[in-house]
């Protein structure tokens, strides 16, 4: 059995060549599982070169048909040959799987089955056609939003973390935050494993720097003091998103984080909102995750002897796990991040955003003209529902989704489509514990 996977008009099509028996059906099952993205609702199975079908083949078709029906889609068969057709009839499956004589008809039937959702999206918000992507916008909160920065970025960049500079974090009551942290029963426990961290609606995901390269996901069932999250540096969003954007790439290759942020900065300018600093949460379909995260805890005892930043060229490989091979195509990606737009036409200069948030990450292509810091969490088997609310959907994903991975994203990470929450930040507060002035208002 050979299975060829292609997309026709966006619909996944599996062309089988061989026998769909107990052995061949296992190969089809794996092919479907590997190719099915979290935004796929319907598939076509092409049986033109299948002259044999047994109950094992029907079993795989039925299981997938049920799963897709639950997603609001369908499994369409096409070019079913004489004997497989007789087996389907004999087994009482004549009208269970819709059958079409040609691939094109099966694809169109699948596309039709998806149309009502697209219409709903159009009704909810105005859609714009931009180069490379389409965009629709919904209004969110009108209250101001700010960022709270805990710890000092310089202590991370120069590996100066000591127990006195580490704070505990109340992540269970935090919606969105990113930074560097570790869980443990004490500071001394946690300090050696400080790694990339993100908080999504009370759940924490972090990548311990213990050499195993395996992230931990933690949702507290009830408040407990036994295990604490310690952080050396954290940026927390205080406030809600002002706008929700639904984006969809025009090409299957998707759009990069940099391209999405460029659209967001342009939108900020159009709204005459402070366009130098935004906080952004996204949930969408990944079209290639690229990452570079810290691989050693930036503790004082490990600091580079030359006193330079761990991101300097000669230290980068030792300190950062750089992975530019795109991964997780079709899986669900949830991100939280911040972006600074230092472009000359920015309404305001970033001011303290520059000191509190900005650093040059050599893993990102130079000359983008903006600074992004995004953490991404990968989930699987979560249906993409463009009409669902961003915050409620992220809550649902972190509580019910199948957790796969967590990474510090490079700006070249791509999304095929997604829902984006944007907060236009009007102030930065430095957490008092970091020994810097209490309040730094950017725009006053």
């Amino acid at each position: 059995m050979e299975v060829t996977t292609r997309r026709h008009g966006g619909i996944l099509t599996f062309t089988c060549n061989g026998r769909l028996d107990g052995f061949g059906s296992g190969i089809l099952e794996r092919s479907i599982r590997d190719a099915l993205g979290d935004d796929d609702r319907s598939i076509v199975v092409d049986l033109d070169s299948v002259d044999y079908l047994s109950s094992a083949g029907i079993r795989v078709l039925l299981a997938n048909s049920k799963a897709l029906k639950n997603r609001g889609g369908m499994l369409a068969l096409t070019r079913v040959q004489k004997y497989p057709s007789q087996v389907l009839d004999m087994a009482g499956f004549s009208s269970v799987f819709p059958r079409y004589p040609a691939i094109g008809e099966a694809v169109r039937a699948c596309q039709r089955s998806l149309e009502p959702d697209d219409l709903l999206v159009d009704i909810l918000a105005e859609t714009r056609d931009l180069p490379g992507l389409t965009l629709s916008i919904e209004q969110g909160s009108s209250a101001p939003a700010e960022l709270v920065v805990t710890g000092d970025l310089e202590d991370i960049l120069h590996a100066r973390l000591v127990p006195e500079k580490v704070r505990t974090m109340d992540f269970a009551n935090t919606a969105y935050a990113l930074g560097l942290g570790a869980m443990g029963s004490s500071i001394d426990d946690a300090l050696p494993f400080m790694g990339e961290m993100v908080v999504l609606h009370g759940s924490i995901v972090w990548l311990p720097t213990d050499g195993h390269d395996t992230p931990d996901f933690f949702t507290p069932l009830k408040s407990s003091d036994e295990v604490k999250m310690y952080t050396g540096y954290a940026v927390t969003l205080k406030g809600h998103f002002h706008e929700y954007l639904t984006i969809e790439s025009k090409s299957p290759e998707g759009v990069t984080m940099a391209e999405i942020y460029r659209v967001l900065f342009a939108r900020a300018k159009e709204r005459k909102k402070p366009d130098c600093l935004i906080a952004v949460a996204m949930w969408g379909i990944c079209a290639g995750l690229e990452s570079s995260g810290i691989r050693k805890a930036p503790v004082a005892s490990s600091a580079p002897e030359d006193g330079r930043s761990i991101l300097d060229r000669e230290h980068y490989d030792e300190w950062m796990a750089h992975d530019a091979k795109p991964r997780y195509h079709g899986d669900t990606l949830v991100t939280f991040g911040i972006g600074i737009n230092p472009a000359p036409d920015a309404a305001q200069q970033p001011g303290d955003a520059q000191n509190l948030l900005y650093y040059r990450h050599p893993g990102n292509p130079p000359g983008e003209g903006m600074f992004l810091h995004n953490q991404g969490v990968v989930f699987r088997n979560v249906l993409y529902e463009p009409t669902a609310g961003l915050d409620s959907q992220i809550k649902k994903i972190v509580t019910t989704g199948e957790f796969v991975d967590m990474r510090h994203l490079l700006d070249t990470t791509r999304l095929k489509k997604g829902k984006v929450g944007v907060a236009y930040i009007s102030g930065i507060r430095s957490d008092p514990v970091s020994q810097t002035p209490d309040t730094l208002d950017l725009f006053t």
């Binding site: 107990g22 052995f23 044999y52 047994s54 029907i58 079993r59 004997y83 087994a91 269970v96």
Partner: protein, 142 residues
Amino acid sequence: MTKRHVFVLEARKENLPSIAEFIGEHLAGQGFSEKEIFEVGLAVDEACSNIILHGYAEGEGQIEVELAVSPERVTVSLKDSGVPFNPLTVEPPDLCDDVDQRKVGGLGVFIIKKTMDSVGYEYRDGKNVLSITKNRSDRPGD
């Protein structure tokens, strides 16, 4: 005159195509129609799949396929030393049209009964023996 052919194989999914090949090879040119050959192959495949999935679920074992071809009919006997199990006692599936309600359990045995003219089971000398017979259509009642 009855011709007998025996094929012994390891009970593994990847061997299912070679069972089909064995059946096809020995029934071709014996006066059976293409449809009859397909149906015998299907029934044998379903029976072997059951043995592979359920009979030897925990370990390895063999299946002996014996083909007896006469001018009137073909009888295939399948022997395995797995868990004693009479597939003919399996409840028939509910053949409704609603995807959500459909289950695949029992479908294999249902297909065997539907395609074959007679089906018999016995447990003999520590082995499951399933015999399935297909009569040649152009010699009814022989």
